[in-house]
Amino acid sequence: MNRPQGQSHRPEITYEQILQLRHRNWLVRSVIYVLMTAMMLWSVQVTIISDTDWERMGSIGKVMSSAARFVGIDWALFPNLIEPAIETFMIACLGTLLGVLICIPATWFGAHNITPFKPVTYPIGRLLMTLSRSIHEIVWALFFVAAVGLGALPGIFAIAMRSVGFIAKMSAEAIEDIDVGPIEAIRATGANGFQVVLYGIVPQVLPQVLSVIIFEWEINIRRSAILGFVGAGGLGLVFFRQMNTFNYHGVTSVIIAILGIILVGEVVSYFTRKSVI
C-alpha cells in the first residue's frame, strides 16, 4: 500500500483523550435530545392544543355518544350496495389492466439493461415510476374528475396511473436481475431483439411480474373503494352520500361492504399468486 508518509504510524490515543471524546459525544447527544423534545412539544402545541375545537368536542361523554352513532347497521341499504360494489371491482380490474399497458413502455425505459438509449430513456422511465407513486390516488382522481367529469372513468384512470409506479419498478428490477446466459444463447441462434425479449427475458420474469400485478390489483380494490369520495364512482360515492345525509348506520354498512370485497380480493389474490409462482 502506498500510504502518505505522515500517516504511516498509528496515532497514540491516551486515556484522557478517550474520556474527552466520550464527553464530547455525550454533549452532542444531549443537544439532539433537547432539540427533539422541543420540536415534539411545539408540534403538540400547534396541531393538537391550538388547532382542536375543544368547545365543540365537549366532554368525554359527548365524544363517546358521537362515536356511538356509528354503532348499528342499516340493513336496508345492502341491496343498493351490490351494484356499487361490482362497480368498485370493475374499476380496480380495468384500472390495473390499463396500468399494466402503461407499464410496458415504462418498464422498457426504466430497466437499465434493456433501455433503448440510456442517457435519455432511463431517466424518463424512472421519472414515470416516481411520479406515479408520489401522487396519491385521491389526487390522481381529483385530477381526472376535473379532466373527464364524474363517474367510473376518472377512477379507472386514477387507478391506472397510481399502479404504474409499483408494477413498473418491480418489473424493471426483475429484468435487471435476470440471468444473461439464456439471452446470450438466444442471440447466438440469430434471433432478433423482439425474439430475445420473448424467449430470453419474458419467461424469466413472468412469474414475478404476474405476482406483482395480482398484488397491485388487490391493493387497487382498496383504492377504488374510496375513490368515490371525490366523485369517481363505486362504493366510495355511496359512503360519501350516507355521510352527507347523516345516516351513520348506512356509513357502517358501506364500511362492512368495503371490508367484504377487500377480503374477497385478498383471498383471490392469495390463491392466484400461489398458482403462478
Binding site: G181, E184, A185, A188, T189, G190, Q195, Y199, G200, Q204
Partner: protein
Amino acid sequence: MAVLVVRDLKARYSAKGPEVLKGISFEVSEDDFFAIIGPSGAGKSTLVRCINRLVEPTAGEIHFNGQEITKLGRKQLRVLRRDIGMIFQEFNLVNRMSVMDNVLSGRLGYTGNLRTLFRAFPRRDIDHALQLLDRVGIADQVDKRADELSGGQRQRVGIARALMQGPKLLLLDEPTSSLDPKISREIMRLIKEMASEFKVPCLCNIHNVQLAMEFCNKIIGLQDGIKMFDGPTESMNEDKLNKIYAMEVL
C-alpha cells in the same frame, strides 16, 4: 479447405481496459475438432465469442466461408449467426420453458415474429427437433421443463438446440466444465459423434487438457491473450503444456 480463418484478432472489453486478445491468428478446416486450451483468464471464452460477435473484436479479420464477419451489419450478422451453433458451459437454457421449446429456439433465426409470439413452429421443425432429441438420448424428456433435468441432460438439450440450427460451425464454450468427469466424457463423445455425423467443424474452448488431447485433432494454446501453440494434437507434449500453463504456477 479452411472454413474459418482468423487473422490478427484483438479484443478488449472497454476502451481503457486491458487487451484480452493480442492478435490471434488460426485456421479451422472442414473436419477439424479444434481445442482452445489455456489458463483461466487467457481469453479462451472471449476468442470463441468473437467468432459470432457476442463479443465485438476491436481489430483483426474473421473469414467464415468467404464472408468477413467483423464487417457485417446487424441484419447480416443475424443471418450469419444462424450458421454458427453454440454450446455453453452453463447450458444457458431458458429454464421455465419445456425441453421442446428450448430445442426449437434454435430455429428462431428462421422464424418470423408472429410465429415466435405464438410459439407456432412449422411441422418439419418440430419433427426435426424430435429426431434430434432422440439422437442425443433424451426423447423421453420432451415435455419436461428444462430446470427439471440433470446437468448432463441439460447439456444434451443444449447440443440439440445448436444442431437444430443446421450449423456450419459449432462453437463450444467449456461444454463440460459444469459436469462430473464421467458425464463430461459422455458429452464430449456425443458432441464429437454429432460433429462427424453432420460434418460440422468444431471450435472448442476447454479447460480439461486430458479431454482436449483425447477428443480434438488440433489444439491452440492461449496464454494471456497470446497464442503459444497451434498444431495437431500429436505434436503437443508436457513441455509445451507447461509453457502454456506457466502463468498458473507463478
